[in-house]
């Protein structure tokens, strides 16, 4: 499934990095701690978080994640938008709280690596 297909299915909007919407989503991860994500998220994962700063984008790029979902309708910080656009890392927004967002992704068939 691509990031675009997930965004369409769950009504998520793309805040930045739209040129990467054709990335393939191969797993999912949820955390608000960068160190935790750096240690455990897999290549191709879609990451659900409430953090909105530019290091979220940097960590997503470092790990070659497929996309980031910003839960709870939070806005992205400006420097994060620029970095995501420049590197084509999709930053999706959902009004759903993180727990619900993960549940909907799971229903669509996205699984974590356990």
């Amino acid at each position: 499934m691509t990031v675009q297909e997930i965004a369409d299915a769950l009504g998520m909007t793309c805040l930045a990095g739209s040129s990467g919407m054709d990335r393939e989503v191969t797993s999912g991860y949820a955390s608000d701690l960068l160190s935790d994500v750096m240690g455990h998220a897999q290549d191709g994962a879609i990451w659900v978080t409430s953090q909105v700063h530019q290091n979220v984008v940097a960590v997503a790029l470092l790990l070659n994640l497929s996309a980031v979902v910003i839960a709870g309708g939070l806005a992205l910080m400006e420097d994060a938008t620029g970095k995501a656009d420049a590197r084509g890392m999709p930053m999706l927004s959902t009004q759903l709280p993180a727990f619900e967002a993960v549940g909907r992704l799971y229903q669509l068939g996205v699984r974590g690596e356990v």
């Binding site: 701690l33 960068l34 160190s35 750096m38 909105v52 700063h53 290091n55 940097a58 790029l61 470092l62």
Partner: protein, 250 residues
């Protein structure tokens, strides 16, 4: 004798991956002179690697000053930022070594995080630091406070009014009994507004700093320190409002 020192206690050099390329220790020192700062603390992310060069730049040549306070902005395992100030260069080096041993594994990727330039104190030669300085360290807030305190230094949690990487953003509160010297408010907010918005910070000594990542930002946040001499011990007294010392901010 007490007198007022204009201080900016949070400035990054080009060793911080997110800082601008023009933030060499020499350029920072010259900019501090232009804007009339008497004291500057060099506080790069998870390293004190450019402190010695900044001190050399400020003490050599026909014009001297400002006083350079050795510092570092540490990212704790809770992923909150703390400005740490050390009494002198040897203790800054000790602190630097401790933090270096607790950095996240892996190497910096300049294309993603930014370049990390370190400048040799005596020769001025510039090289690249390959450590992953942008990532959180393995040191908890409690670890940082106890180790810095043991070195005679001061801990000042950074930009408490901001959501990202701040003690209030990450923890939601300030742990009781935490041995911090004070709290930093960002230059986006004044003292009164900060106290209105964040009632938890009442009772702590507050300082305003620039958190400059580029030359033009230096001094945009600053404080007047009424102290006897420009030392970390005196800065700690001023933050506590002890022995007549005090901090004036807008």
């Amino acid at each position: 004798m007490l007198r007022a020192w204009a201080a900016d206690l949070h400035v990054h050099t080009f060793l911080s991956p997110c800082a601008s390329r023009d933030m060499s220790p020499g350029a920072i020192v010259r900019r501090c002179r232009e804007v009339g700062l008497d004291i500057v603390a060099i506080a790069d992310h998870n390293t004190a690697g450019n402190v010695a060069r900044a001190m050399a730049e400020a003490t050599s040549g026909p014009t001297t000053g400002p006083v350079v306070v050795p510092g570092m902005e540490v990212c704790t395992s809770e992923e909150l930022h703390v400005v740490t100030l050390l009494p002198d260069l040897p203790r800054a080096a000790q602190w630097d070594a401790a933090v270096r041993g607790a950095l996240a594994p892996g190497e910096n990727v300049p294309g993603i995080f930014g370049e990390q330039w370190v400048q040799d104190a005596s020769t001025g030669a510039i090289s690249s630091d390959t450590g992953l300085l942008a990532a959180p360290t393995r040191l908890s807030l409690a670890d940082v406070v106890s180790q810095v305190t043991a070195l005679g230094g001061a801990c000042i949690p950074s930009h408490v009014d901001r959501a990202a990487f701040s003690i209030l953003g990450q923890l939601g509160f300030i742990p009781e009994g935490l041995n911090i010297a004070g709290l930093e408010i960002s230059r986006a907010i004044g003292r009164k507004e900060a106290l209105l918005r964040l009632p938890q910070i009442a009772g702590y000594g507050l300082i305003s700093s620039s958190d400059a990542h580029s030359l033009g930002e230096i001094g945009l946040g600053c404080a007047l320190l009424w102290i006897e001499e420009p030392t970390v011990a005196e800065i700690m007294l001023a933050l506590r409002g002890a022995l007549g010392r005090r901090v004036e901010i807008e």
